[in-house]
């Protein structure tokens, strides 16, 4: 009897220790990022670092503004393209899809999320970027390129298909299955009585979806989109291929640009001293924004108020 008690105690301690490992890892990540980025943050000052456009190897002055802007721009462009598609696909799956093919369609869309990001990068670089450059880019340029003021943002200035637009496109494909499955979960939680009462009042299927199902899961949908934003911000391999990692001001969405992750992937292994510290500072920015996004999205999905 007592030996069994000891064994139980030992197992209890073992499981408690194992659950502490991840806590220690998270704390170590935070400490390491702060410690390694400290020299850069002290040298430039945190605010000056965030809002400096410079990235000068010879003078060793590095600012976060361009990679940060690239990360935010590419993620938001991706999100803008992905959310309507994902929610449409989720509506199809929950409301329309015949039961016989439902599991096939759902698995297919989920497998899209299982493809490793380096494969998206390879495919994006070899197949999608040339396709976009040949067919989509001229079309967008034709429609929007001659507009006053903003038109120049849609004119192509460089060849090769490696640019902000391609990077955003591949990102949007990568977050599409992610938002779809979260939206589907949210839609499935709509009480059937609500839908049935709408239909009993004579609402069409679309009206039921638009006026009952979507409003009922609004908060969770917002959470899904925010969570996808977090995914997009931190995505590395595909973006590193497709954005071109160019440190220059952005003159068009068809020009190469840089993101935090592309700068890290391309420059980390050759960086030393203050440049290395700068890259850690970028990682710290990424980690902090990711934490905030995670908290907001979890609260939204749980249906709680944000503040």
């Amino acid at each position: 009897m007592t030996s069994s008690k000891y064994k139980n105690l030992i197992f209890l301690l073992l499981t408690a220790l194992a659950s502490l490992v991840i806590v220690v890892v998270v704390i170590l990540i935070a400490i390491t990022l702060i410690k390694e980025s400290y020299p850069a943050l002290v040298r430039y000052g945190p605010l000056k670092f965030l809002f400096s456009r410079q990235w000068d190897y010879s003078k060793e002055i590095y600012g976060a503004l361009r990679p940060l802007a690239g990360t935010v721009l590419s993620s938001f462009l991706a999100l803008a393209a992905a959310w309507p598609l994902s929610i449409g696909a989720a509506i199809f799956l929950t409301e329309l899809c015949p039961r016989r093919i439902k599991s096939v369609v759902a698995s297919g869309l989920e497998l899209l999320a299982a493809i490793p990001s380096v494969i998206y990068g390879l495919w994006g670089l070899m197949v999608m970027a040339p396709f976009l450059e040949k067919y989509v880019q001229p079309a967008i340029e034709f429609v929007l390129g001659d507009l006053p003021i903003i038109g120049s943002f849609f004119q192509s200035r460089s060849a090769g298909g490696v640019n902000l637009f391609s990077a955003s496109c591949v990102l949007s494909l990568m977050i599409l299955p992610f938002i779809t499955s979260l939206a589907r979960e949210a839609f499935d939680k709509t009480p059937p009585e609500l839908k049935e009462s709408a239909q009993a009042l004579g609402a069409t299927k679309w009206e039921t979806v638009y006026d009952v199902v979507i409003p009922n899961s609004r908060s969770a949908l917002a959470g899904a989109v925010v969570m996808a934003l977090g995914r997009a911000l931190g995505e590395t391999m595909a973006v590193a291929y497709l954005i071109g990692n160019r440190h220059a001001s952005l003159d068009s969405i068809f020009s190469p640009y840089a993101t935090i992750t592309s700068v890290m992937a391309n420059e980390f292994n050759e960086a030393e001293g203050i440049r290395m510290s700068t890259l850690f500072a970028l990682a710290l920015v990424l980690m902090l924004s990711n934490s905030v996004i995670l908290i907001i999205s979890k609260r939204l999905i749980a249906g709680r108020r944000i503040a």
Partner: protein, 281 residues
Amino acid sequence: MTKNVRKRRIKNLLALSLCSLCALFGLTILGWILFDVAVEGWKALSPKLFLKDPAPPGVMGGGGLKSAFLGQGLMTLTAAVMGIPIGILGGTFLAEYGRNLKVSAIVANLSDLAASTPSIVIGAFVHALLVAPFGGFSGWAGSVALAIIIIPLVLRTTDETLRLVPWNLREAALSLGASYHQVIWSIIYRSSLSGLLTGVVLALARAAGETAPLLFTSFNNNSFNWSLSSPTASLTVSIYQYAASPYESWIKLAWAAALVVTVLNLGLNLTARLFLKSRKY
């Protein structure tokens, strides 16, 4: 039929067709990617891929990726050996011993934070911890980075799976005089085995497809070796480096490696799906 009703029906039809097109778009993209990877990869697939090391770009034939296969296998395996037990035991604490503790909720949230951390940040972290102080890239550092990806995934699926086991099962076993660890080992683990396996397989699939954490830790190595204390090649990093190269023979190698990685990854995901289906709770 009044005009209004017809208008609503047309709107209904239009909107629902658009939704169907969205789903079709997703499936088309999946098909497009898989088609290209299969066709391009198949063209480059040969026994040489598994039996030879990469050759310099000028050399005819381009060599193979023997070291990358071995390195990827060794690192994923090492990461699994480190990560899976920690994940399962940690998840057991959250779901069983610490079920009602406030600490458990904090641990679960931190674990979600770790799982959502961009994998390139994990790579940079392990670089600062295990590469810079020890004088160079190593397969061990790569394994640790992959283990950090595995742990939170396994931990949370274990936690969620064990919570699904009905509480009276535990009470029944405890009332027979079993101690809690016996209940966990012989009742709870056993009855939630397929759920646990789902989590483990999915985590392995994630780890086997990761590139960013390996880029700064194990880097790459063109020569074949069994040791994890030197830089270690992996398929994913090889794809990343070769696809960006201007040499056709290297780009072919990248496609071949991509085919292998994709098949492996989708295979693991489908396996996880089978486990999920055979779940009891």
